[in-house]
């Protein structure tokens, strides 16, 4: 008797869960909750009716009813989350964004490409223990030429076309000029310091040269100088190879050939294999397969002697590179004048 009066919980569970699946909005869900989990629900009635059962049956039926309650509750929670998510998605879809619209531009400043390159180069050398030194742009003939083993009427002066400063006619002092290279900083540093010396000197230099796509009357150079006991040309090759690898990439090959600069002996020119053609020869490298990047050499004994450093005890190397040449090679810029034309359409590319 009592068995026939008790509700069939298995059927109830099946029915309830089937109805839950049909509930597709908040209203239907709430109606379902009242019907199956509310105070007047069949489940609640069944739970209340438990007390009337004999203790033996009560335990079994009670466990079954609680199990059903848990199943319905968790089913409800899951369905509710699903229905809510669907509603959110539907609402969001209605008010969706045109993601293809341009983003709000952030205010971004940029460094001049020369600054970027100078920082990069100086960084490479400071990591090798070089210290940055600077000197004036307006120099005396002594620092720019004489002290560097280029006396007056030396034919090497031809390769340093010079801007001379106007002086009042009563001046007897030696003429002033715009430095034609950063090498005077070598002299200024060596006058003040004793070895070990390891400096780089970045700065502006000037040449009295008509400007065109490959010539500028003003450009930047970075000079390097290391003086101590036992410094050799092998160290110079090592330092420059290291630089070329770090700046142009580890796959770059370097080539060193003899060259002449009055303030070094032996002198050399450093080139890297052309990364445009891979060394086969192209317009960029003038079909040679090599790109010249800098001039260097062992500090001339006369230069050392003049600043009071004994060339029989100390040796040193020096190098100097044109800074513009680096981005010109690296980025394929075909006109050097773009650097100081300061057109934003150019500057923004870097």
């Amino acid at each position: 008797m009592s068995m026939s009066r008790a509700p069939n919980l298995d059927e109830l569970e099946k029915l309830a869960l089937a109805e839950l699946d049909q509930a597709s909005d908040a209203t239907a869900l709430e109606a379902w909750r009242i019907r199956y989990l509310g105070k007047k629900s069949i489940l609640n009635q069944a739970l209340r009716a438990l007390g009337e059962l004999p203790p033996e049956d009560r335990r079994i039926a009670g466990a079954r009813a609680n199990q059903l309650k848990t199943a319905l509750e968790s089913g409800f929670a899951g369905r509710k989350l699903a229905v809510e998510t669907l509603a959110l998605t539907a609402a969001a879809e209605k008010s969706g964004l045109d993601v293809s619209l341009p983003g709000e531009p952030a205010l971004l400043g940029r460094f001049h490409p020369i600054t970027r390159v100078m920082r990069e180069i100086c960084g490479i050398f400071t990591n090798m223990g070089f210290e940055i030194a600077e000197g004036p742009d307006v120099e005396t003939d002594y620092y720019n030429f004489e002290a560097l083993n280029i006396p007056a009427d030396h034919p090497a002066r031809d390769s340093f076309s010079t801007f001379w400063m106007e002086r009042s006619p009563d001046t007897v002092k030696p003429p002033l000029l715009l430095r034609t290279h950063t090498s005077p900083v070598q002299i200024r540093v060596m006058e003040k310091r004793r070895p070990p010396i390891r400096i780089i000197a970045p700065g502006r230099v000037y040449r009295y040269e008509a400007t065109d796509a490959t010539h500028e009357s003003m450009f930047y150079q970075i000079e390097g100088l290391a003086v101590d006991r036992g410094i050799t040309m092998a160290d110079l090759k090592g330092t420059l190879t290291q630089f070329a690898r770090l700046f142009f990439g580890p796959e770059r090959k370097t080539r060193f050939r003899c060259d002449y600069f009055p303030f070094v002996e032996p002198g050399m020119e450093c080139a890297i294999d052309c990364f445009v053609c891979g060394g086969k020869g192209c317009r960029m490298c003038g079909n040679s397969g090599w790109l010249e990047i800098l001039g260097a050499g062992m500090v001339h004994p006369e230069v050392l002697r003049r600043v009071g450093i004994d060339p029989d005890v100390y040796t040193g190397f020096a190098f100097g590179m044109g800074v513009e040449r680096m981005p010109i090679l690296k980025y394929g810029i075909e006109d050097i004048r773009l650097f100081y034309g300061n057109d934003l359409r150019f500057l923004r590319q870097f």
Partner: protein, 801 residues
């Protein structure tokens, strides 16, 4: 220096292709810029003999020529006026690539029928073969040219264009390059022939030489040839000169040029009969002396110029150019040949002063060896005897006041290692040097030698030079690659560099584009910085030799360049532009190097934000510029004040001086409308200028930690109406002076209705906070009320309803 490989082979034949020779020279310090090959395009061109010349039956100006091209006879139509029977000529058959006479384009020869007669090819002019620009007639080859021989075998050559560095005047010659090639390839060098027959009459009986100024002429050698016949040079010599870029003149002059190209020693031939008293005096020019040089110009000579004179007058500018008076002419029968050594600096000054750079002067100014004069003189005398006949006097005149002893240089293997970082034993060093022509002998130490440079080298001064010789012949690629292992120097702090770079970072972080502008500018541009175009700032230092007016003086300010830069970019940019530069300005100081002051200058104008579909932005104004300065100086740890200032570049009432540490360190403001107009700025702009030299000592990189507040603050807003003339600074200072006020920030400022005329409305937020307790509303409210009261008392402020 152009070097014909054919000529080079007279002295050394390494049996290597031109590219390989060029590469070895380049690596050893003599950069070969180009290799120009002649003969490469001459396929199907052979030497032919003209056996018959007939008139073309159908054309007056054309001829029918029969040619023997080596066992075969052919007929060719020829229009050249100079074709004659018996000539050896270059003949191109169908298929040959030739330059078109009028256009210079390379075209392939096709079978042609000219006025009814088939021509099996053509006889060529020099231009058609690319030998020269001569298109006046066919090229006539020397009579001894073998018929049928391919022209490229007979005439083909490769000319290396070598860039000779200033230290190597010896390499401005074929033998100089030959010495290098011999050393670099291990080949033996053939010696040039210097002997010639001499008559019994002594040269000293025919001419005399006196050097009056020994300092400028350490050596003068001369020979005399009588009975010469001046005529054109033979073709082979003309071709060699032409290959080196020199124009043939006559056999005497060509011989001097030829030997100069061969030995590097400039030579000069005087017409012996035109030298008064057959006498040569080497002396400085006298006041007022003039000479008509070979190029026909009259040259005024200065007292520091060295000249060659005869008994009466100047006959040449020493080492630069000869005079027209004594030049070799068709009437010349005897010549005096000069081979001398001159002071390089003097030659360079003279040629600069006369604006006359010649093949001779560019060699002399580089410092030629004094020992070159004698072999060159013997060589040219020999050559002229061959080319022009005549008899050479016995002996040569050699006045040599500047003779110095042999200069032996000691070199230790250890020293070479110390410079090169390459292990070399003294035997290897000696071997290398000997290949270059050096003489070596044993010296005191086992790893030491004494070295004497060959007579043609003037650039070898010490052990470092010898180390270079060894390295460049051995190959720089053989030098090991090592990393510096010497002690690291102690580095000094570099506050200026650090500050400059951090300033750059801040400016870029604030949205500014960095620019770099020229140090040289024009005073016209700088004048535009004032509304009435008056000079601005100190008088600049000027360049004595400017390239242009636009770059004629050193900048004393960055302003003008930055404004010009802004104007340029406004042409292409609708959006806001922010530019800055950190750079030097040059302030003149009495007759010495200028003071080089580092400045920052920034310009900004246009809309604050980039153009956006989300609405228009306001335009940049004074307060944007001020915000940048505040950010910059806050980062630098510098307390700063702004005070109204007057400056011609800026608009009245919209300019402020930037004051820190009690001094003005810069200025900001809106550009004066007339200045903006002068620079053709599209719209108004603001400018910031800071003197970094003044700012640097104020920069503080130290920071003190402040504990975070433990107790919440109480926030209260105040809105007041007060006189327009009251400055925010006065209000702010008053508020911040009260206890418990943690901050005071202005968030609204309004003038206009309903605020009465002459008044303004200000609203600001005050945060009250205590470091040791949570404030109650009453505590905060009490201070708040006092503030309002004081604002009323001191500034007549009324709370806004």
């Amino acid at each position: 220096m152009k070097v014909s490989l054919k000529w080079l082979r007279d002295y050394v034949d390494p049996g290597l292709p031109p590219e390989e020779i060029a590469d070895r020279l380049t690596m050893a310090g003599l950069e070969v810029k180009t290799i120009h090959k002649t003969g490469g395009d001459w396929q199907n061109v052979v030497v032919a003999l003209v056996t018959e010349v007939k008139q073309h039956p159908n054309a007056d100006r054309l001829k029918l020529t029969t040619l023997d091209i080596g066992g075969r006879s052919i007929t060719v139509v020829c229009g050249a006026p100079n074709v004659q029977t018996g000539q050896k000529v270059p003949f191109a058959s169908v298929g040959a690539w030739l330059k078109d006479g009028p256009t210079g384009q390379l075209v392939q020869l096709k079978p042609a029928k000219i006025r009814g007669i088939v021509s099996e090819g053509m006889v060529c002019a020099e231009k058609e073969l690319g030998i020269s620009e001569d298109f006046s007639g066919i090229m006539v080859l020397p009579a001894d040219t073998p018929v049928g021989m391919p022209l490229s075998d007979y005439l083909g050559d490769a000319v290396l264009d070598v860039e000779v560095t200033p230290n190597r005047p010896d390499c401005m010659s074929v033998t100089g390059i030959a010495h290098e090639v011999a050393a670099l390839t291990g080949q033996a060098m053939k010696s040039p022939d210097l002997d010639y027959p001499e008559e019994s009459r002594s040269v000293t009986s025919l001419a005399s030489v006196e050097i009056a100024d020994h300092d400028l002429c350490p050596r003068y050698c001369a020979s005399v040839i009588t009975g010469v016949k001046v005529a054109p040079s033979p073709p082979w010599l003309q071709r060699r000169l032409a290959a080196c870029g020199m124009r043939p003149i006559n056999n005497i002059v060509d011989a001097t040029n030829y030997v100069m190209l061969e030995f590097g020693q400039p030579l000069h031939a005087f017409d012996y009969e035109r030298l008064a008293a057959h006498r040569i005096v080497v002396r400085r020019a006298r006041d007022g002396e003039v000479i008509i040089s070979l190029d026909g110009s009259e040259r005024k000579l200065g007292r520091d110029m060295l000249v060659i004179a005869d008994a009466r007058r100047v006959v040449a500018v020493a080492g630069v150019m000869g005079g027209l008076d004594s030049e070799i002419s068709e009437a010349t029968t005897s010549v005096l040949l000069e081979s001398a050594s001159f002071n390089p600096a003097s030659i360079r000054r003279t040629s600069t002063d006369l604006k006359l750079r010649t093949e001779a002067s560019i060699r002399f100014e580089r410092g030629l060896s004094r020992e070159l004069t004698m072999p060159a003189l013997r060589r040219v005398t020999r050559l002229i005897l061959q080319l022009a006949g005549g008899t050479a006097a016995n002996g040569v005149i050699d006045i040599y006041p500047g003779k110095t002893g042999d200069k032996w240089i000691r070199l230790r293997a250890a020293r070479a290692y110390g410079l090169l970082g390459m292990e070399l034993d003294i035997k290897a060093i000696q071997g290398t040097l000997e290949r270059l022509g050096f003489t070596c002998r044993k010296a005191g130490l086992p790893d030491e030698i004494e070295v004497l440079a060959p007579y043609w080298r003037s650039d070898i001064q010490g052990p470092a030079d010898l180390a270079e010789e060894v390295a460049r012949v051995t190959g720089y690629d053989k030098i090991p690659v090592t990393q510096l292992s010497a002690a690291l120097p102690i580095h000094e702090p570099a506050p200026r560099l650090d500050f400059r770079e951090s300033l750059r970072d801040t400016m870029v972080g604030c949205g500014f584009q960095e620019v770099l502008t020229y140090s040289l500018t024009s005073e016209t541009l700088t004048c535009k910085l004032t509304p009435d175009l008056q000079p601005y700032g100190p008088e600049p230092m000027r360049v004595a030799n400017p390239l242009s007016q636009e770059q004629s003086s050193l900048r004393t300010t960055l302003r003008a360049n930055l404004l010009a830069c802004l104007a340029h970019n406004q042409k292409y940019e609708d959006g806001g532009i922010r530019l800055f530069e950190i750079g030097k300005v040059f302030l003149p100081q009495n007759n010495s190097q200028p003071e080089e002051v580092e400045m920052l200058c920034a310009v900004l104008g246009g809309p604050k934000l980039p153009m956006s579909w989300r609405g228009q932005s306001k335009n940049i104004d004074f307060y944007d510029a001020k915000g940048v300065v505040e950010t910059m100086l806050d980062r630098a740890g510098v307390a700063v004040e702004f005070a109204p200032a007057a400056d011609a570049t800026f608009h009245t009432g919209r300019t402020a001086g930037i004051i820190a540490g009690g001094t003005g360190i810069g200025v900001i403001g809106e550009i004066h409308p007339r200045v903006a107009e002068g620079f053709e700025l599209g719209r108004t702009a603001c400018l910031i200028e800071l003197n970094l030299d003044l700012l640097l000592p104020l920069v503080s990189t130290t920071r003190r930690y402040q504990p975070l507040p433990k107790y919440p603050g109480v926030i209260r807003d105040i809105a007041i109406i007060l006189d327009r003339t009251v400055k925010w600074e006065q209000v702010g200072r008053l508020v911040r002076g009260f206890p418990l006020v943690a901050s005071c920030q202005l968030f609204d400022l309004y003038e206009g209705k309903p605020v009465p005329d002459g008044k303004k409305s200000m609203a600001f937020r005050v945060v009250y906070q205590s470091p040791d307790r949570t404030l109650t509303d009453e505590e905060a409210g009490s201070v708040h009320r006092q503030i309002i009261e004081r604002l009323g008392q001191e500034h007549g402020a009324v709370m806004r309803g």
